[in-house]
């Protein structure tokens, strides 16, 4: 099933979906596995697996450190591919996406990367430093393999850019609620609601709202406005404080 079909199907039964995120190999693949099991048990529908990169320029300090520590432990792209395959088999009801930076695909060869991702059971890609203008090969290759290359809406975009990205994104559109990088606070306000409404006008795809979702109140706010709430940095902090169990407990309280 395609990413979009999966989201539509889940949305027919639920007011909003949850998408979580973790950095592969941080603090370790074994700990990732426990956290992922807790996420799945808490009913999370979509999970972003971030393949670590040495220069994660769109990420805030917490994710930057997680990337660096994973690489210090020796995480390789090949390990991430194998681990992803294992996860997709073990948790067949959950949809997994890769999030990483373009050099990881480029160095491996875009075609080989997409082939391995597809074989592993990955449904989509989020590549924050690959703008639409440079994404031709990735978009084409994704289409051929039934993968979705997800583009990003931001509050600095003008309507013509939103329309372009809204038309070329695949599966869903990842919406950023504010300026800045991951892991900073977002103001869940009427202005944000208006921003999401503007995003909605420029695509027929489901909308995922990320960057700064930190609790049940934020998720409640998003119901009826966005289709998917993304929880990223918050979970790394929670994991540091309370482990996989803490992550699971937090997520099961969100809806």
């Amino acid at each position: 099933m395609s990413l979009e079909a999966f989201i539509r199907q889940e949305l027919s039964e639920k007011p909003i979906l949850l998408m979580t995120h973790l950095v592969l190999g941080y603090p370790s693949l074994e700990e990732n596995k426990k956290t992922l099991a807790a996420m799945v048990a808490a009913g999370v529908e979509l999970i972003e697996l971030q393949i670590p990169f040495s220069e994660p320029s769109a990420d805030g300090p917490i994710l930057v450190r997680a990337n660096a520590q994973s690489l210090e432990r020796g995480t390789k792209v090949e390990d991430c591919m194998e681990f992803a395959q294992e996860l997709c088999r073990e948790f067949p009801k959950t949809t997994f996406l890769f999030m990483t930076y373009y050099n990881i695909l480029y160095k491996r060869g875009v075609s080989l990367f997409l082939e391995q991702a597809q074989a592993a059971g990955i449904k989509g890609l989020i590549i924050p430093d690959l703008p639409w203008e440079e994404a031709g090969e990735v978009i084409q290759g994704s289409k051929q393999r039934g993968l979705s290359n997800i583009l990003i809406f931001t509050p600095t975009h003008q309507p013509n850019r939103l329309a372009l990205l809204g038309a070329h994104s695949q599966g869903l559109v990842y919406c950023v609620g504010r300026r800045g990088v991951t892991g900073q606070k977002t103001d869940f306000s009427p202005a944000l609601a208006a921003q999401i409404a503007l995003y909605r006008q420029h695509t027929r795809l489901p909308l995922a709202l990320g960057f700064g979702v930190a609790g049940k109140e934020d998720v409640d706010f998003l119901v009826g406005k966005a289709d998917i709430a993304v929880i990223g940095t918050k979970l790394i902090q929670l994991h540091q404080e309370a482990g996989a169990q803490g992550v699971g407990a937090f997520l099961s309280e969100l809806r």
């Binding site: 994660p56 450190r65 792209v77 050099n103």
Partner: protein
Amino acid sequence: MELRAKQGYFGEFGGMFIPEILHRTFLELIQAYEAARRDPSFWAEYKALMGSYSCRPTPITYAENLTRHFGGAKIYIKREDLNHTGAHKANNVMGQGLLVKRMGKTRVIAETGAGQHGVATATMAARFGLDCAIYMGKEDVERQRPNVFWMEKLGAKVISVTDGTQTLKDAINAAFRDWAGSMDNTHYVLGTACGPHPFPEMVTWLQSIISEESTSQMQALTSRYPDRIYACVGGGSNALGAFYYYLDQPQVELVAVEAGGKGLETHQHAARLACSDATIGVNGYKTYFLQDEDGQMKDTHSIAAGLDYVGVSPILSHLWKEKRVRFIAATDQEVMEAMKLLIQKEGIIPALESSHALAGAFREVGALAGDQVVLINLSGRGDKDIFTIADAFDDPAWEEFIIQKAELYQGRRKP
């Protein structure tokens, strides 16, 4: 000849691999830059500013003693070391400052490795009345206290970056993160001819003032073009500025000297094009990077912090591939020898970065004929790097002086 990108690319190198949040900011920057290029009053204003504030045109010195010493080609030196703040960095920074004024922004940010670009940017911000934040790897903050001292005195906020390897590339990432949130009032003064389009082209254009001057200066001095031009390459801005107006003169050989560190065979170096360790990758722009098989950037090494960088200007990658620029590398040891020789023979104290260009030239100049001419771009002066250079010389009297100074400060501390 004009060095202009085609849709952001020079051959297969360059591009604009930026997060969507900065898309509009880059479009606005490209517009402001293109408008400045179309407007002849911009270049006139820029030259007038550099003439009244930064000792331009910088002179060319005939190195008579060195010429005699090597017994080969005549050696001329373009004195970018005489710029205000001590290096060619001032050219780029003051030019971008004029652009900031035209864009109506009120704050500038910059990355810095050794601190020269940070000091230059802080100087420009003070002169133009702009708020200023400088991102610097924690390791560099600790190594380069004198530059941090001056940046702070110039009114800049120096932010110590504790991510990653805590050096230049991490400072660049941190500056981009700042920009992703602050672009409405902030311009990022990128320090070299790297990064996403339009930075490589824009910085090269601002640095082209070096060869705009040197072509007519060399004509006046020698009535001809030089046979070879040598410049050091970190990101590549001083080399591109020194080469610019010679690119369409095929008889002028252009030689770029990279940091050979502890020797190319040790892999502890920052040579991207002078050896085969680097491969093509993408990190904001497409060029040769020192990276592993997964695309993770490696640690680099150079005695000169300003050359200690994983990537190289996409314009230089293109010119190298086109065989227009020849790349060689000089080791830390050769660089120290070259520096000593310039100090002793000509009474000029070069920066460690610029000493790479000297080392490259000194290796080859003796084999050239006496009627040939080489021009070395001396990108910066070294006296401001006295701590680093004294360490490199391992000077016992200096060490003793610092110990005594430390004891003096210790004595002043309240128990």
